[in-house]
């Protein structure tokens, strides 16, 4: 049966391509077919996962080779897939959350004339993402990796008529390409080092290679992961990506695609296990992003961007966890899954809010929506509780474990993670207050209303998952399940008992909540965004995404532009100018050499006579000399 795992990919792919080619006749059923394809894939995924559950520990990695993809020279890559504990979880997450979002989109995109194409792109995304997680070879993984990038590009820029959307899409793709640079170079390094890019083989053989190779590979893969998962320094695209339709933000830029970097690190655990330096780099990146994302989340008034900042931050947690090595891999994946539930939930909730608010994303225009959108409020609230880590909701379990593991690694790392938890509580509370709880601030003519059922059912489903996601940790199921892949880690003894740490975390979270309440309930929230000059320097920096774009501009974009301009000039005047210059000089020479042809026969004779003299002299001179 596992031989048929390619069907997981093939079903949405076929559906997506078919919908694209189908043409206008498909508009009526397109969304249904798309949703059905996703659901079918999910069902098949469940079946496969179930049968995996029924197997022994050793048999739980099921590989299949579909065909030889590339066999050229000494380079050999099979189009092969592996369904194992890790990818199984991902399959369920992707197809499960994906299907819910498909359903949601039926409603959300109902009035878009290009809905069929939207579903086609979603299906292609599902297929690519599944390729990414099922791949048994880094190059196949790269295929999926770029495939999700493409889908992301298409979906961010789905509303192409908006310049901002098109620009954001391009930016996302290009920044991702920078990450891909690392990924591609990493694969080349594998090939030159090991002669193969099979994930299994590389991770198995890494111990035999020199440490610098492992470090190099780790850093290169980390670069790739940074691009895809919007980690510092390649984080700038994610906030812009919110230009895409909200279901896209939920599925791609919250639940699944952006977590691919974490998946990559966990999948390449062999490499990271072999290099302390690479792991440290991962931790640093994760920690920095964690704090940066939280910071940005505090300052943004755009609900989707605030959530995006939060996403950055949460992925920072996952990265941090992944960087901790065997001690953290499982928790990274655990947090990834719970985050997938509650963040998708909240994004969809935000979409529902926007749906009711005529696509307004400015939280300062919201307020008091809880009465108008009760279901959205309720589900969003569950997500909220989950993300800030209120027991017993999903986020509590996963984040707690990560902070714990971080303290196990290094006190300062743990402290950073702890601080992040507090800030998370602050900005999420702020978001809740500004959106649902405070006085209403919307303008005339806006009639907030609850979304249709096709949109609220997925919200409810995800809310339930957000609330109950913690069950995966029951009796450490998730760690044990993943242990064959991530390896076993001895539990490190902390300076304080785990329960004390949990309490501390809870207290910090509470402080964050209280601070937000104190800050935003004290006085009414201004409808107009305060000018940059009137807010604190921290808020200003957060609004400007910590000046990441400006930094990119200064370091990369503008120099490139200047270089390009210079090269265009150089090509015209220098390279081509040399050629045309030679041609011009020849023309001048030609004109010059015409001159002696005066038409006077005597001057011709003079030339001849001169020639005679030269010839005679030369012959005599050359020979006699």
């Amino acid at each position: 049966m596992f031989d048929l795992q390619w069907l997981l990919i093939a079903i949405p792919l076929a559906s997506g391509l078919g919908l694209l080619v189908w043409g206008k006749e498909g508009d009526r059923f397109g969304h249904l077919i798309g949703t059905a394809a996703s659901a079918l894939s999910f069902l098949f995924g469940v079946v496969l996962f179930a049968s995996l559950l029924g197997k022994d520990g050793e048999d739980r990695s099921q590989s299949t080779k579909l065909f030889t993809w590339i066999d050229a020279g000494s380079f050999h890559v099979d189009m092969g897939f592996t369904f194992d504990q890790l990818s199984g979880l991902f399959v369920l997450l992707i197809t499960g959350v994906g299907t819910l979002i498909h359903v949601y989109s039926i409603g959300y995109m109902a009035h878009d004339e290009r809905r069929r194409r939207f579903f086609a792109f979603l299906n292609i995304f599902i297929a690519a993402m599944l390729t990414l997680v099922l791949a048994s070879d880094y190059l196949v993984l790269f295929l999926g990796w770029e495939g999700v990038g493409l889908a992301s590009y298409l979906l961010i820029g789905f509303w192409q008529h908006k310049d901002s959307a098109a620009a954001a899409a391009k930016k996302a793709f290009v920044v991702n390409r920078v990450g891909d640079l690392g990924m591609a170079t990493g694969i080349m390094l594998m090939f030159s080092e090991f002669g193969t890019s099979s994930i299994h083989a590389v991770n198995g053989a890494i111990t035999g290679a020199s440490g610098s190779v492992a470090t190099a590979l780790g850093l290169l893969l980390l670069l790739g992961a940074c691009g895809k998962s919007a980690q510092v320094p390649l984080q700038s695209w994610l906030l812009d990506a919110m230009e895409g339709p909200t279901p896209v933000s939920a599925l791609i830029h919250a639940a699944t695609m952006v977590t691919a970097g974490v998946y990559l690190v966990v999948r390449s655990h062999g490499i990271f296990d072999a290099s302390e330096a690479a792991r440290t780099a991962v931790i640093v990146v994760g920690l920095v992003t964690l704090l940066a994302g939280a910071w940005i989340g505090c300052a943004k008034d755009d609900i989707k961007k605030a959530l995006a900042g939060s996403t950055m931050s949460q992925i920072g947690y996952m990265m941090l966890a992944a960087g901790l090595g065997p001690a953290g891999y499982a928790f990274a994946i655990f947090h990834l899954i719970t985050h997938g539930f509650f963040k998708a939930n909240m994004f969809l909730g935000a979409g529902s809010v926007m749906h009711g608010m005529d696509d307004d994303v400015e939280m300062r225009h919201y307020g008091g929506l809880r009465t108008f959108m009760p279901i959205t409020f309720a589900t969003f609230g569950l997500g909220y509780l989950a993300i800030i880590g209120v027991p017993p909701f999903a986020g509590f379990w996963s984040k707690d474990k990560i902070i714990e593991a971080a303290f196990g690694e290094n006190f300062w790392v743990g402290l950073g993670a702890l601080l992040g938890a507090g800030v998370t509580a602050f900005y999420m509370t702020r978001l809740m207050i500004m959106t649902f709880l405070s006085e209403k601030r919307w303008r005339e003519g806006v009639h907030p209303h609850e979304s249709p059922r096709v949109m609220t059912w997925p919200l409810i489903g995800l809310a339930v998952l957000s609330a109950l996601g913690g069950v995966l940790l029951v009796s450490n199921w998730i760690t044990e399940w993943l242990e064959p892949i991530t390896g076993h880690a001895e539990h490190e003894e902390l300076a304080v008992p785990a329960i004390v740490l949990t309490l501390i975390i809870t207290v910090v979270v509470a402080i964050g909540v209280v601070a937000a309440v104190a800050f935003y309930r004290r006085e009414p929230i201004a409808v107009e965004t305060p000018a940059d000059s009137s807010v604190s320097i921290f808020a200003r920096a957060g609004r400007h995404e910590l000046y990441g774009n400006e930094l990119n501009d200064a370091i990369v974009v503008r120099p490139t532009r200047h270089l390009t301009r210079f090269l265009v000039w150089f090509d015209g005047k220098g390279v081509d100018g040399f050629v045309t210059g030679v041609a011009d000089r020849l023309g001048d020479t030609s004109q010059f050499l015409r001159k002696p042809q005066t038409g006077y026969v005597r001057s011709y004779a003079l030339t001849m006579f001169g020639g005679v003299a030269v010839l005679v002299l030369a012959l005599l001179a050359v020979t006699l000399a």
Partner: protein, 540 residues
């Protein structure tokens, strides 16, 4: 023929010279037909004289050509250090050898094609392209009268035949005295023919004067070179000179000066820099059929003479003259190619192109690769023979096209008038383009194979760097050839554009032959190359 006589003083009788008539028949046929033409000129009625003269010339050339083929196939094979065929004939005056007879063949072909152009009468309303009465001042009343009476100079045919016989002699002369006489035999009629254009007569006369004065000037240098050679070697016979040169009997300076001065005369005829100055003016001013004849024929004959003198007589001192000739070749190629870029007159442009081609030919010449006994490698001689054939046919074709592009004032040779020719008459423009491409040395044309052969001869002679210079210059030269194509095909015509006269079967034949030969020698050059290789080396 020359009767022995015994005089009162008891001088020994002079024995009659031994002349191989059968071997020399082609030369005698042409000479005979030329003389016959003069007689016809005197006695045949004016009304049909033109046709008779033209027919006589063509028939004579065809007959001579047929005989040439027979002579060529019948040449004795000589066993020497390298393959050679033929023998020294006419008391040692002529060397009827492979290259020489091959040259006869191509000269006769050039002559044949040129005679067809000479005989073309469709273009000037039933009159030939030559002036009706050269003695009339241009623009005078008597000139108008001559036109009214439709008189024509039919002497051009015998004159051209004399020039042709001069060329044939020049190509096969085995002693310097005969070579000098042949040089004059070929030059004098051409001086004259240059001045006989029907249109733009002032220019034509000017061309004749320039050609004559400069030609005489150069031939004096040639002559002094002969004198010095004689002083050095004591003989005019090339083989005797060779012996003297090889033995180095002293008087080095005299030999070197002689070499230089002889080179002057020969380089003048082939139009090499710095003895090229006459070429553009004369090519432009002369009647176009004459230009065609001159461009193809003179160059071929002069090159054969150059090869013969320098390979046979001065072969022993080749290390002395080769550096100088290399310099001349480079300058010639370069100047010809560069100056033609800025030309605005088709005929002048073709003249500069002919200078550039002289340079390429000299590249093959300085290789001085004479071949080895058991190798079929291209030699300098065979490469030049092939190149001359291709160049000659193509340039006759090109000049034939020039005769057809006209406006009210006759041929319109200003390049700007040629704009858009490809649109109005694609066939004509296409064939001209083909000749241009052949000149540029684009593959699948004869010009390419020609370039290839001369370059390979140069490389065989050790001048690989000259080959590199050569190819770079040919790229340069290609520039102006493609410019003409641009003009004809890619440019909109100015005003009404040129009119293209409908030629008679004569010019059409010339064009067809030239096109077929240019293409054919590009695609299947094998047979002609084999012939050229078969010709072997010069006999001594």
């Amino acid at each position: 023929m020359i009767a022995t006589f015994s005089s009162a003083t008891d001088l020994p009788p002079i024995s009659a010279p031994d002349i191989e008539y059968s071997l020399l028949a082609p030369v005698f046929i042409i000479a005979g037909v030329a003389v016959l033409g003069v007689i016809v000129e005197a006695f045949w009625p004016r009304s049909s004289r033109f046709l008779v003269q033209a027919g006589l010339a063509v028939v004579g050339i065809v007959a001579a050509f047929a005989d040439t083929i027979w002579v060529f196939t019948d040449l004795d094979k000589l066993d020497g250090s390298r393959l050679a065929r033929g023998q020294v004939a006419a008391e040692g005056a002529l060397a009827v050898d492979g290259p020489g007879v091959f040259a006869w063949g191509i000269l006769l072909i050039f002559g044949f094609l040129s005679m067809l152009l000479f005989a073309e009468r469709r273009l000037e309303g039933g009159l030939s392209g030559f002036t009706g009465r050269a003695a009339d001042a241009p623009g005078s009343a008597s000139e108008a009268e001559a036109i009214k009476h439709r008189v024509e100079h039919t002497e051009v045919f015998p004159l051209a035949l004399f020039a042709l016989v001069g060329m044939m002699l020049f190509a096969t002369s085995n002693d310097l005295l005969t070579m000098f006489v042949a040089l004059e035999v070929l030059s004098l009629p051409l001086y004259l023919l240059c001045g006989l254009a029907r249109r733009r007569r002032l220019m034509s006369q000017e061309a004749a004067l320039k050609y004559f004065l400069l030609g005489a000037f150069s031939s004096v240098f040639f002559l002094y070179g002969i004198a010095l050679t004689y002083g050095y070697a004591g003989s005019f016979r090339l083989s005797d000179i060779d012996v003297a040169v090889t033995n180095r009997t002293g008087g080095e300076n005299m030999l070197l000066a002689a070499t230089a001065l002889m080179a002057v005369g020969l380089l003048f005829k082939i139009g090499a820099v710095p003895f090229h100055t006459w070429t553009p003016d004369v090519y432009q001013g002369a009647p176009t059929p004459v230009t065609a004849f001159m461009a193809a024929g003179t160059k071929a004959a002069a090159f054969l003479a150059l090869l013969r003198v320098f390979f046979v007589a001065f072969g022993g001192s080749s290390w002395d003259w080769r550096p100088i000739i290399v310099a001349v070749a480079i300058i010639t190629m370069f100047l010809g190619a560069v100056v033609s870029i800025s030309q605005t007159d088709v005929k002048r442009m073709l003249a500069y192109s002919s200078i550039a081609h002289a340079g390429f030919l000299l590249v093959g010449f300085v290789g001085a690769y004479a071949g080895a006994k058991d190798s079929s490698r291209i030699t300098s001689t065979s490469s030049i023979l092939f190149y001359l054939t291709v160049y000659g046919v193509s340039s006759i074709g090109a000049f034939a096209v020039v005769t057809l592009v006209r406006d009210s004032g006759g041929e319109t040779t200003h390049l700007s008038k040629w704009a858009g020719l490809g649109k109005t008459s694609p066939v004509l423009a296409g064939s001209f383009a083909l000749f241009m491409l052949s000149f540029a040395g684009i593959p699948l044309t004869g010009g390419f194979i020609g370039k290839w052969t001369v370059f390979s001869a140069a490389w065989s002679g050790g001048f690989w760097w000259l080959v590199v210079i050569g190819v770079l210059v040919s790229a340069l030269a290609a520039y102006f050839y493609v410019r003409v194509i641009v003009l004809m095909f890619f440019t909109e015509p100015v005003g009404e554009g040129p009119t293209v006269a409908v030629p008679s079967v004569l010019t059409t034949t010339v064009l067809a032959v030239a096109v077929i030969a240019t293409l054919g020698l590009g695609i299947i050059p094998g047979p002609l190359l084999d012939l050229a290789q078969h010709a072997g080396a010069f006999v001594r």
